[in-house]
């Protein structure tokens, strides 16, 4: 297997370029760029126009928000099919609470998050403490909360007050001198540029402290320049839209969520325990991880995010209706798998899922721009989901990483074994079948 080693070293150098960043995410990023370029070409440049980009963020932020929650659920080895219904249910509850109880909109948002938490606690209880598989609990939840939505709204749409709509269709306000661009958006862009630079410098400093060989300086510079070029380009696009529009408020909410959840999954005990439970539940429990509590919190967190996504969607469409959130679970699940998560759990990142979510958003948006009918959109999405999981499963069989591995795989390097072993006596342990832990040995 000499060829094997050469590819690994290539992979390593590619990883070095991206500062130790995940190789897999690089591949996903690549597919995002590819899909953007494809639609840019097919729509004659419409995709990357200011108006469309602003629209894309405000219209599809729900996919990205759901993807954040879903990736955590999938890392823990579960699935949530109820997110669309939960979003619709919370949407209608919040809309009704403002209409009938005259709840001020900021309170209504808190109320909506609280309802999401209750729903999550309900579902989490069944999954974690009763032990009903998540796909059953959430399949039931899909029905229950869809029914609940129609029950509360009498299958009608309920309008929401203008203040509330800010979270869905608001933009950064115009401040300061007239520049032809939205100043706050440019400022935001500047902050991100600085943050990117600072983060790279800090990463290099940490590498030095740890005494590990830092990646070459040129690699860092190339990386920072590339990333910032994208940021600057995007901020000018966002800032240069129709007057009155700029970077959407929902995009800012999304950005905050991405930062918070990247941090949570990477740097908190909870986050690491989610990976541990999904990766090897038994081993995690032997290390003192309370897997039930983790499962409960994971499911609860998902419903809270679904609630938020539902509210943002309602705010954007100015009313809550019975058809909200239909097949959102598919967008979210596909986003997560495109983002490199594994069906078997234990693998996945928030950043990857966000990029996966962007792929789905660009796909939705591009197909819409092209005027492709909803029938064909459904078929394409179904196939994309199948493809995303198929790539994961395929790569696991080949013992390779996700999409990048798929794309860079040298066909002649690793001939797949003719027949995968039928029986894996005790997966994860190097030896053959052993009696389970509860047996005397």
């Amino acid at each position: 297997m000499t060829t094997e080693t050469t590819t690994t070293s290539e992979a390593r150098s590619a990883r070095k370029l991206f500062g130790g960043g995940n190789l897999r995410q690089f591949g996903i990023l690549f597919s995002l760029i590819a899909i953007i370029l494809l639609f840019q070409y097919l729509t004659n440049g419409l995709t990357l126009s200011s108006g469309n980009l602003i629209n894309l963020v405000s219209q599809y932020s729900y996919i990205l928000i759901l993807a954040i929650g879903m990736v955590i659920v999938i890392i823990a080895g579960h699935i949530d099919l109820s997110v669309g219904s939960v979003a619709a249910f919370v949407g209608i509850v919040v809309a009704t609470s403002m209409k009938d109880w005259n709840l001020p909109w900021p309170l209504a948002i808190l109320f909506g998050l609280f309802v999401g938490m209750l729903i999550g606690a309900w579902q989490g209880w069944w999954v974690a403490f009763v032990g009903v598989p998540a796909f059953i609990v959430t399949l039931a939840g899909m029905l229950i909360f869809r029914g609940g939505n129609q029950l509360i709204g009498n299958a009608n749409t309920v309008p929401v007050p203008p203040g509330f709509t800010t979270i869905g269709s608001g933009y950064l306000p115009e401040v300061g001198p007239y520049t032809g661009y939205n100043n706050l958006t440019l400022l935001l862009g500047l902050i991100i540029v600085i943050a990117v630079i600072w983060r790279e410098i800090r990463a290099r400093r940490v590498q030095r402290i740890m005494g590990s060989t830092p990646s070459p300086l040129w690699a860092s510079v190339v990386k920072v320049v590339l990333l910032n070029a994208v940021v600057v380009y995007a901020s000018f696009l966002f800032a240069g839209g129709r007057t009155g529009t700029s970077f959407p408020v929902s995009g800012i909410i999304l950005g905050v969520l991405v930062l918070v959840y990247s941090f949570v999954t990477r740097n908190t005990i909870f986050g690491r325990h989610v990976y541990a439970v999904g990766g090897n539940k038994l081993a995690a429990e032997l290390s003192g991880v309370k897997s039930r509590r983790i499962n409960f919190l994971v499911m609860m967190n998902m419903s809270i995010l679904a609630a938020l996504a539902g509210m943002i969607f309602v705010a954007r469409s100015v009313a809550s209706g019975p058809q909200d959130g239909l097949s959102w679970e598919l967008d979210a699940i596909a986003a997560v798998f495109i983002g490199g998560a594994a069906v078997s759990g234990g693998i996945g990142t928030v950043t990857g899922s966000i990029i996966g979510g962007l792929v789905m958003a660009v796909l939705n948006n591009g197909l819409q721009l092209l005027g492709v009918g909803s029938d064909r959109v459904q078929i394409i999405k179904g196939l994309v989901l199948l493809l995303a999981v198929g790539v994961d499963v395929w790569n696991k069989k080949q013992g390779r990483p996700s999409i990048l591995g798929f794309m860079t795989r040298n066909r002649k390097t690793t001939p797949a074994p003719d027949e995968a072993p039928m029986v894996v006596p005790d997966s994860g342990t190097p030896d053959t079948a052993r009696p389970p832990a509860s047996m005397p040995s």
Binding site: N267, M422, P425
Partner: protein, 527 residues
């Protein structure tokens, strides 16, 4: 640790303080007494080895000690550092400074070395994990165990040997005083094993006491200060390496020393000519491509012959058997197979069954039985075509066949309609044997056919095996119990680290010679 209280009657020994004393530990599982009245005394700062055959109760004892089986599920006392302790779970034993490294490594493959070391024990600053501290500490720990790896490397990307070192680093991170290693070198190659042993000796120099369970007697001879031998759930003796002048032979005598008389039905072998042969068999581990689980193995079976395979756990016995049985384990690399003088190729289990092979798995519950099924359906399940007209199963025949095996094998079940999950281990095993006898095999491969079975049922199963041989079938018998092999087999192959090391006619074999060939690589294959 509210339940602890100080014991004052601690015996004082001349040659060092006692760190741990387990007194009269008895542990029962439904139907099996895994430990009866076992005692163990470990002195501070020593390396204490525990030896015994598979199933003797070593791992169970260590699970009792580390809180995997919590206080209350066993009888007896554990006195640790002068106090009687009641561990409720692994956590409480860890807090007391006892860390166990299980046979099955408790590592998460998708997490990095650092993350695994601190799993369940993460250093935090203001609620967030302090990765810089964690990595620094991880680097120090890795240096202590002599592992030069980037602490960001994922566990799945390092070999088993290094994973074992990470486990030890994980234990060290919890300021361990007593380290328990259950078969630490079972999956390691020579170099990795040596490194690990050196490390354990190094830890001893720093005052860490170790309890080590191992099958590799040469390793025990090399590092252990004292050795406790356990047999059939009982303590046999504790040897002092220096005082008693311990060597492999001495340990083996303790491990196997039991009488063999009249535990096997009388039988006169009627052995025919060679009808089954495997030549130069090579198989790779299904996941770890650099690891060979079967190396250049060749064996022959004659008609009416019971061929024994002796080897320790992890030596590659099961791997050899399953790879012969339609390549159901590992990645087949090379080798030839002959039956009745013709070369055959068995690419899957169905072909193996068609060619008259049968395999009774060592892991009855995971690989042998559908525990949801009933007795009659299970018996016919490997060759439904025999009682079917086209696609339709004839349930009248099913009953009478099942009924036939129930009487001939004396399967104790209320009816053949009962669920197998309700039967005892011995009767479940008879059902499995019936299932394979029903396929009319010429060659039966029996992998630990008497594991977890009580003495009476064992005797009956021995009778069944001898009957099969008497009918002219070939039997390959894999067993960890040497008396069983010596009592039943006509010829015994020994396996060590994936390779066949010897072939001894039963008449010339005794436990000591077998154990020697099973624990070392000296190759002197007779045929």
């Amino acid at each position: 640790m509210s339940t602890q209280h100080v014991m004052n009657d601690e015996p004082v020994r001349a040659d060092g303080p006692v760190i741990l004393e387990m007194r009269s530990i008895t542990k029962e599982f439904p139907g099996v007494k895994a430990l009866s009245d076992v005692s163990l005394t470990v002195k501070a700062g020593e390396i204490h080895a525990i030896c015994g055959e598979n199933g003797a109760g070593k791992s169970t004892l260590m699970k009792v000690l580390s809180g995997v089986y919590p206080y209350g599920t066993y009888d007896g006392d554990i006195v640790y550092q002068g106090r009687t302790v009641h561990f409720r779970d692994i956590r409480s034993s860890e807090e007391a400074g006892i860390a166990i490294i299980h046979q099955e490594l408790a590592l998460i493959p998708e997490l990095s070395i650092t993350e695994n070391i601190f799993l369940g024990n993460e250093p935090t600053r203001w609620g967030a994990i302090d990765w810089i501290t964690a990595k620094k500490t991880a680097l120090e720990l890795l240096a202590r165990v002599g592992l030069r790896e980037d602490p960001d490397t994922l566990i799945k990307n390092i070999g088993v040997g290094k994973q074992q070192l990470v486990e030890i680093a994980k234990a060290l991170s919890k300021s361990v005083k007593l380290l328990i290693l259950d078969e630490p070198t079972a999956a390691l190659n020579e170099a990795d094993s040596q490194h690990l042993l050196d490390l354990i000796r190094g830890l001893k120099g720093k005052g860490i006491t170790s309890i080590m369970i191992s099958h590799k007697l040469n390793e025990i001879e090399q590092v252990a200060d004292s050795i406790t031998i356990i047999r059939d759930g009982k303590t046999i003796e504790t040897l002092d390496a220096v005082r008693d002048g311990v060597n492999e032979d001495r340990i083996i005598r303790g491990m196997v020393g039991r009488s063999l008389e009249s535990r096997f039905p009388d039988h006169v072998p009627r052995i025919g000519e060679v009808f089954f042969e495997v030549r130069d068999w090579n198989v790779q581990h299904p996941q770890v491509t650099e690891r060979m689980v079967v190396k250049n193995s060749s064996l022959t079976v004659r008609r009416g012959e019971i061929v024994g395979i002796a080897g320790l756990m992890g030596a590659g016995r099961t791997e050899l058997a399953m790879s012969i049985f339609g390549r159901s384990y590992g990645t087949f690399l090379s080798g030839r197979m002959f039956k009745d003088g013709k070369e055959i190729e068995l690419r899957n289990v169905a072909e193996a069954i068609d060619h008259g092979l049968a395999y009774v798995s060592e892991d009855r519950k995971a690989l042998g039985l559908n525990l949801l099924d009933d007795v009659k359906r299970l018996i016919v399940s490997a060759k439904l075509s025999k009682i079917s007209a086209g696609p339709v199963v004839n349930d009248g025949k099913e009953y009478s066949i099942a009924e036939g095996y129930r009487t001939s094998l004396r399967i104790k079940t209320p009816t053949v309609d009962s669920g197998v999950s309700k039967l005892s281990g011995g009767n479940q095993q008879k059902v499995v044997l019936a299932k394979w006898m029903f396929t009319d095999p010429d060659l039966l491969i029996l992998d630990e056919p008497t594991r977890g079975i009580d003495v009476g049922a064992k005797y009956e199963i021995y009778g069944i095996i001898q009957n099969l041989a008497a009918q002219g079938k070939g039997v390959i018998l894999i067993s960890s119990e040497l008396p069983e092999l010596l009592g039943l087999a006509d010829r015994i192959y020994t396996v060590f680290e994936g390779a066949i090391t010897d072939c001894i006619p039963a008449a010339e074999a005794d436990p000591e010679t077998l154990m020697k060939s099973m624990t070392s690589a000296r190759k002197k294959v007779r045929s």
